[in-house]
């Protein structure tokens, strides 16, 4: 993107480290994390964590009026041999170990789900085929909980596909044992009317590697809250996201990386393209480096490409550092229009404007997709992006 067309709202803070006296990541929330929905007041829209979200479009997920219906969503798990796949009751000890609900809807989901799906990869099991979880909306209201647990040194790729129409609040726990490697791709390819709110809690074991790819294309309102904490030193987290926000859609990604353990790394890259009247993307990137988390290395970036008038981006990176004994910490956020110089270069090679625009937007995302490292998923996402562009960028 040409510099002149960017309006940076964040900047790298490496070398200029502010030490916070008290964590605002925690204090600006309207209630401390809790599993019980009753511990959260019903939001009215002015709360810090809700101020960007159109509450009236949550279809009652936030105020207790959305009652689960029998035909909410259908969930299916397809896993290679050796992987445990179970449906368990609310009292199962494996539920909730990834993290505690941080807002009212996540707590609502936790308080209301009946059965949780638990997928377990035993220790030292290295899968060559991905685990596929499909969540298909059947038009109703649903609350859900998914657990993915990898034993020590296990390696797995998990793909979670969301399709159809539903009003869904669901949390996911990712538990990584020591030295485990998990790549999880969550695709939100909902129909136009769907509402999806969820919290993803990753607990990254000692020397474990967690890679999350969140891909949001569909839905009327999608609000996801990927969170990472570390259970031991040497953990690595990569959080990638891409979203394509069309007219009228609200897509919100709120991230928290809690560096609560020394010598861990995190790298957050979210990229989005927006087009059409009232397309609204929200990105909140919170990184907290706790006093004990010496040797932390973190970087977070959000880039938005605004393709038409009428679209809105709210991008808020927030880095909070309680120790100066770190390797690096930085963040960046840019929201730009189309780069006319790129367009000129491509058109000067005979490529018509429409095709040139598609090429640039595809490239904007491809740069991120190329880092996923799972070839068939990369291909599938690029094909999906091409399809999205075919339908929209003109």
């Amino acid at each position: 993107m040409a510099e002149a067309q960017n309006s940076p709202v964040g900047s790298t803070t490496a070398g200029a480290i502010a030490v916070a006296a008290e964590s605002t990541v925690a204090t600006r929330m309207s209630a401390p994390p809790s599993f019980d929905v009753a511990d959260f007041p019903v939001p009215h829209g002015r709360e810090e964590e809700w101020r960007f979200t159109p509450l009236e479009r949550l279809r009652g997920l936030h105020d207790g009026t959305a009652v689960a219906t029998g035909e909410g969503v259908k969930t299916a798990v397809e896993a290679p041999e050796g992987v445990g796949v179970e449906l368990v009751g609310r009292d199962d000890a494996r539920i909730g170990r990834g993290g505690v609900p941080a807002d009212r809807v996540a707590a609502q989901a936790h308080s209301a789900f009946e059965l949780a799906s638990v997928v377990t990869v035993p220790k030292e099991t290295v899968l060559t085929e991905p685990i596929r979880i499909t969540v298909h909306g059947e038009g109703g209201v649903a609350y859900g909980h998914q657990v993915v647990e990898l034993g020590a040194f296990a390696e797995a790729v998990v793909v979670i596909d969301h399709t159809g129409d539903a009003v869904l609040a669901a949390n996911v726990d990712y538990i990584l044992g020591d030295g485990a490697k998990l790549t999880v791709v969550s695709v939100q390819d909902w129909d136009d009317k769907a509402v999806h709110v969820g919290q993803h809690n990753a607990l990254v074991g000692r020397d474990a590697t967690f890679k999350s790819v969140v891909v949001t294309f569909g839905g009327d309102l999608v609000r996801l809250h990927p969170r990472v904490a570390y259970a031991g030193p040497g953990g690595e987290a990569q959080l990638f996201g891409l979203y394509f926000t069309d007219a009228g859609q609200h897509q919100e990604h709120r991230l928290l990386v809690d560096h609560n353990t020394p010598h861990c790394t995190s790298n957050v890259v979210y990229k989005g393209a927006l087009q059409g009247q009232d397309a609204h993307a929200v990105w909140i990137g919170d990184v907290l480096i706790e006093a004990r988390a010496e040797g932390t290395d973190t970087y977070e970036m959000n880039r938005n490409l605004v393709l038409t008038d009428g679209a809105r981006v709210d991008s808020v990176p927030n880095l909070e550092i309680e120790t100066g004994e770190i390797v690096g910490a930085g963040h960046a956020s840019t929201t730009g229009r189309f780069d006319d110089e790129q367009l000129f270069y491509l058109m000067a090679r005979g490529i018509p404007e429409k095709d040139a625009r598609r090429l640039v937007v595809r490239g904007f995302f491809a740069e991120l997709v190329q880092q996923i490292g799972v070839p068939d998923i990369e291909e599938r996402l690029l094909a999906k992006i091409a399809e999205e562009l075919e339908a929209s960028v003109a």
Binding site: Q342, F344, Y345, R349, G350, A366, E367
Partner: protein, 255 residues
């Protein structure tokens, strides 16, 4: 025979909230098979001429005509100009993140030729063209101009020139920033295209160095937004010896 005719071209640019006239009546005819060198001091408007011909939106044409084989170039969009046979090798080629060189070249060739080149012959064509320019095959998988060295960017421009086979090629300071080896490789590429006899070449440069490799038929001195003197190759020798001083003090109104 393809001919580019530039008549009394006037171009302005918006800068610092003011409109500034950069080109002040350029007249030039480039015929297929001919090579014209346009030489001039910095700020004389040489690059503005190149970008105006290609249709960059930054420049406003306020007068004059540009015809390619009788067709009005100024009425065409940027991509239409390229498809009509104009090619601009840029001084500062732009990075296009996430778009591979191979994808870019094929998309471009498809647009210029009007149909997708047959895959097998195309792969061979690209591979051979890259070899001639001393480009490693891995180059095709890199993103367009991303992390390219100065020499790689220019070789990539000339690779496109060889593959797209335009009627008129405008080379905007293709020699700038190149060491002698890179200059030789790039010049050889340009010469291969010239030897086909099917391209008219407009070579824009500040230095005479490249003219040792690419022999021009005509040399034009550009100063103050117009051509102030034209001659044969011997004019370049004179510039080599005497510099632009005579033109910037007497001939050129604004440098």
């Amino acid at each position: 025979m393809a001919t580019l005719e530039i008549r009394d071209l006037h171009v302005t640019v918006e800068a610092d909230n003011a409109t500034k006239e950069i080109l002040k009546g350029v007249d030039l005819t480039v015929k297929q098979g001919e090579t014209h060198a346009i030489m001039g001091p910095n700020g004389s408007g040489k690059s503005t001429l190149a970008y105006s011909l290609a249709g960059h939106p930054k420049y406003t044409i306020t007068g004059g005509t540009v015809l390619l084989d009788g067709e009005d170039v100024l009425e065409m969009s940027v991509d239409e100009r390229a498809r009509a046979g104009l090619f601009l090798a840029m001084q500062y080629p732009v990075e296009v993140p996430g778009v591979s060189v191979s994808n870019f070249l094929r998309t471009s060739a498809t647009a210029i030729r009007g149909e997708a080149p047959k895959l097998r012959t195309w792969v061979k064509e690209v591979k051979e063209a890259m070899q001639r320019l001393n480009m490693d095959p891995s180059f095709a998988e890199r993103n367009v101009n991303e992390g390219f060295s100065g020499g790689e960017k220019k070789r990539h421009e000339i690779l496109q020139l060889e593959l797209l086979k335009p009627k008129v090629a405008i080379l905007d300071e293709t020699d700038s920033g190149l060491d002698v080896d890179a200059l030789r490789i790039v010049s050889e590429g340009v010469n291969r295209v010239r030897e086909s006899g099917e391209v008219g070449t407009l070579l824009i440069t500040h230095y005479t160095r490249i003219l040792r490799y690419i022999k021009p038929d005509h040399v034009h001195v550009f100063s103050g937004g117009r051509i102030v003197e034209s001659g044969g190759a011997e004019l370049a020798d004179k510039l080599e010896d005497e510099g632009y001083e005579a033109y910037t003090t007497k001939g050129g109104a604004s440098a």
